[in-house]
Every structure is written in structure tokens, then in C-alpha cells.
């Protein structure tokens, strides 16, 4: 049997952005694929010792512990098939801890093996959490300021702490990591980046709560809330082709009532949501299919 073509797809995201939830839910979806164009399992990888217990927790609606930075799990291996084209794919999806990427930013370096992976990557799934602040809030709101200009008689103001690399804003860190990646890949073809807005259900809930006439698209949300990263991807479309996805892989929060709600689904696939512009499904393989050109007609990159 000829080995399947190997497609290294990297997961990149800071801590708490839903990378592991995505991997586990993807594994589930590939077993119960409802989209006739979606990827399915062709076979099970030999070693599922990392994935199997997490899958059980996911089905019970439980939260996962953070992925360990010091003891990273082995690269997640999926033997997939794309039924419409008959293509067999071997997907390598290493699940690195978010702290690892923080450390790359702070140390201003990539380990050589990670740099090699970036160089050879078929694409990147870039995770951001819908509930995170992309940037720091500027002290310009009158409510946050002392009403009077300080005078020599004023009581001493609070002393601001000094900036350190760890304090950098999330979108700054991600732009910088992509700048590092573009240096590593200099001269290579454009790299596809699927931006994964995780916990997308929060955005839709908010839109419903605010009685917005139209629910925001992932691109609308991303442009408004992650502007520096959005501009960077748009301006560098020759280096990075990007497309924005709203993803709900866990399907809800971690409170007791939320866990109860999650386990009440008769079909756990219904917990999952993937929003690609106006297309809605539970096919978590869709962003990977976009990276691998397995969506027909192929949606144009957002940038």
C-alpha cells in the first residue's frame, strides 16, 4: 500500500484558545461526518493514548487540563480520507501548549525543529478566543481618569509598572510570531492560514441578546476585534493567504448548567459549529480542507 501524502498542519495559538478542544472534536466529527464533502477517518492511528481519554472527557462535557509545555503530547496523527476525491491524507497536528508560543515570543526565537515544521507546513490553524481582549485598553475614558490635573499638592498617583515582554498584547504576540514565520519561510509559496475564532457561540449569543438584525460574520468580528492582525494578514497576502472561521468545538461553557446542557445532546455533533462566511455546518475538517484545496469551488482567501 502506498503511503498517504503527509500534510503537516500546524496549530498555533496562545494559551486557552481551544486548540485541544478542536483536535478532540475533530476526531469525533471524522467518525460521524455529516458533510458528504468532509474528511473521514480512513484508519485509526496506532497511538491514541493522548486522544482517547480526552475524547471521553469531551463527551462528558468536562473541561480539559491545560496542555503541558514541559511534557508535550506526541504529534497528533490522523489518517484521513476525502471521499469525493478519493484522496488519502496523513495529517500531523502537533498540539503544543499555548505557553510554548508565548515563550517563542519572549525568547525571540524558534527551536530549530519548530522552524523546520513551519518551513514545511501545508498550513496553519491559528487560534484566537472570541472572549479575549486582543489589546490593552488605553486610559482615555474620562471614567478611568482622575478628574483634576495633578498639582504638586495632589496625592501621589499610583505608580505604573514597567513593561516587560510578557505583558505584550495578544495581537502583538501573534503578529510577531507570524513575522518570525515569514522570515523562516522566506522565498516559499504563500502559506494558508485558517484563523479559528474559538467559542464562536459566545458571539452569536451576544448578537441575539443585543437583538442585532444580522449576526456578524467571522470576518466582521475579526476585523473589528483583532485589527492589527487582520491588517497584517491582508497586507501580506502574498506571504499568508488567510480565511476566517468561527468555531465552536466544545459547544458551551464550563459551568454545571452548561455541562448539563452539553451532555443532554443526543447527538454530540450538534454541539459543534463551524461558520465560514455564510456557510454553517459541524464539519471541523472544513478549515483543513480549505488549506489543502479540498473544497470545491475553493473559497477565495479573505486576504
Amino acid at each position: 500500500m502506498t503511503p498517504s501524502p503527509n500534510f503537516p498542519v500546524l496549530l498555533l495559538g496562545l494559551k486557552g484558545t481551544g486548540k485541544t478542544h478542536y483536535l478532540v472534536a475533530l476526531d469525533w466529527v471524522m467518525d460521524r461526518q455529516q458533510d458528504p464533502d468532509g474528511l473521514i477517518h480512513e484508519d485509526l492511528a496506532n497511538d491514541r493514548s493522548y486522544l482517547q481519554p480526552l475524547r471521553e472527557m469531551w463527551l462528558k462535557g468536562l473541561e480539559f487540563e491545560r496542555t503541558s509545555r514541559t511534557n508535550p503530547p506526541p504529534p497528533h496523527h490522523l489518517l484521513a480520507k476525502h471521499p469525493p476525491s478519493g484522496t488519502s491524507i496523513s495529517l500531523h497536528l502537533p498540539d503544543l501548549a499555548g505557553e510554548t508560543f508565548d515563550s517563542h515570543f519572549v525568547k525571540r526565537s524558534f527551536p530549530t525543529d519548530f522552524a523546520e515544521r513551519i518551513k514545511n507546513a501545508a498550513g496553519i490553524l491559528l487560534f484566537v478566543h472570541c472572549d479575549s481582549n486582543a489589546d490593552h485598553t488605553i486610559l482615555d475614558d474620562p471614567a478611568l481618569l482622575d478628574p483634576e490635573e495633578p498639582t504638586p499638592e495632589s496625592p501621589p498617583a499610583a505608580i505604573a509598572i514597567d513593561w516587560t515582554l510578557e505583558e505584550a498584547a495578544l495581537q502583538t504576540k501573534l503578529v510577531e510570531l507570524l513575522q518570525f514565520a515569514s522570515e523562516v519561510r522566506e522565498g516559499n509559496r504563500a502559506l494558508r492560514i485558517a484563523v479559528m475564532l474559538s467559542a464562536w457561540e459566545l458571539v452569536e449569543k451576544q448578537d441575539q441578546h443585543l437583538k442585532r438584525k444580522t449576526i456578524r460574520t467571522p470576518d466582521d468580528f475579526f476585523s473589528k476585534n483583532w485589527p492589527l492582525l487582520r491588517q497584517f494578514l491582508k497586507a501580506n497576502s502574498q506571504t499568508f493567504e488567510s480565511r476566517i472561521y468561527g468555531i465552536s468545538a466544545r459547544g458551551g461553557g464550563a459551568s454545571d448548567p452548561e455541562i448539563q446542557r452539553l451532555i443532554e445532546f443526543e447527538n454530540p455533533t450538534e454541539r459543534i459549529l463551524v461558520v465560514d462566511d455564510s456557510h454553517r455546518s459541524s464539519d471541523l475538517s472544513r478549515p483543513i480542507r480549505w488549506i489543502l484545496n479540498l473544497i470545491h469551488p475553493t473559497p477565495q482567501p479573505d486576504a
Partner: protein, 302 residues
Amino acid sequence: MAEEEEEEKEGEENGRSTEVLFHTGEKFSPFEASNILTHRGAVVVLTSGGARSGKTTFLARIGEMFRDGSFGGFTFAESRTLCAFERATWKATVMAGGGQPDTDRTERRENDMFFHLRVQGGDSVFTDVLISDLAGETYPTIVGSADAAANLQAMSRCEHLVLFLDCAKLVSLSERQPEWDNAGTFLRRVHSRRVGGRPLHLQVIFSRWDHVTRHSKRDVQETFCASVETDLRQRFASNFKTLEFFRIAARPRGGNPTNKEIQKVFATWCNPVSGYTPRTFPLSDSHSRDFSAFTFGNLKSE
């Protein structure tokens, strides 16, 4: 962490590098700035003015507008000095924990260091901008001594000079005349330093403009600033390729920052008519060409 350090150490001992290193994210040294000049071309800008006249806050505000997506007409494409921009803004953020927005002063050792921004204009043209922020304490030194100006590499190389006139001083009877006078002397120093050199564009900024708009005698203050503008125009318009005036409050107390005016200044730097032509191919494999452009032929890479 300990494991990682051990691995790195082991790698180093075996003579192989375990890490691929990247830029620091802090302001560029002249050597790093030269690298951009050599390979892409860039517009070089020098901001100058007295201590606390709002130079760094103005630059921080440019960074903030790109970060919050409000900068009109330009799209952020790259910055190799993102950490320097973050640092400039930090003390004006809630996270920093100070009760009032503040900006760290630029120190003398930061002279001839550069912020970097690469932007895409509405015409899809990319522009690299290198901005040197002259330490406030250096400004009176230059006013007092021609030698001090001679030692500034950014002053020799810049295409745009931005001079900040501090409105907090211009509204003060005791301080307004020295502020005005120093500006004139500074511009004469720059002109004599640049005679015969490449054309220089001058932007004069009435900074911290909210000190004028909030003043109980606003009309009087505005008239005074207008007479400073007229005087500087009469004396210096012929010495610079272009001369423009702006009224800016980058972080006013009450009211909104004058974002549009700040964007206009930035747009002036990126305007090809003001002398900037983006380089579309490398002109040289060696940095020496741009060292000479920076007039630091003897400078060696560190």
C-alpha cells in the same frame, strides 16, 4: 524550563544551534536601519523638540491607531519594532496600573535609534518608515552647539524633520518666548547642517494643543500661535523643500485626540511627492552603501 535550558546547553556543547533567532522587537540600531534602507528603501523621519513636548506620545498614538484599526488610508503591514511601540504606549494603558496616562521619556542613548513601520497605502504601494525620536534633553544641546547637531546621524539622513512646539509652554507668559526662540535657533542649526544635502521637508507641530483649547483665553493663545507660525514661515520656508504646520493633541485631558491631524502628518511622510520612492529591488548586497548614506562609513556591524 529547566529541561529546555539543559537541552539548549547540550546543543551548544555539541556545536549545533538549537534556536533560530529573530529581531528583538526594540528600536533599530543604525546598522539595522541601514539593512532596511539597503534592501527596501525607507523614508527616514526625525522628531525633535524639548523634553515632554509630546514627541513619543505622538509616535505611540500612531502605533495605537494601527492597533485599534482606526488609521485611515493605510494598512499595517509589518513592524520589526513592535515591542518598542508597545513600550511607548504601555504607561497609558489600564494594565500598567498608573492612575494617569503617561509616556516614558526618550533617553539620550536612544538618539539615532529607530522605530520601524511598513504600511500599505490606498494605492497598494508599500512604504517603510524609520522614525528617530530625539531625546528631549538633546534638543537644548543642539540649540546651544553646532557640534551636537553634527554628531546626529538621523539628522544627516532624514527626509522629514518634525519639530514639536509645546503648547503647555506657549500658553505660559514666562516660557513662550524661549520656546519660540529655541525653535528658530534649532531650525537654523539644522539648515546649516543640511546645506547642499538632500532636500528636507519640515513639519512643525503645535503639540499638546489641548492646552490652547482649554485655556480661559483661548482666542489670545490661538492668535499667539498663529503669529509664531507666520514668523517661522517667513524665516524658514525657503530653507526647506516643504513646510507645514499642524495642531495636535495626541493624548488630551478631556476630549478626543486629534487623530486626523496625526494621520495627515504620517501621510505626508509616505507621500511620494515629498521625495520618497519605494525601492523595488535590492540596490546592494553590502550595507556599506547605506552606511555612507547615513554618514557612518566607519561604523562597523556589532
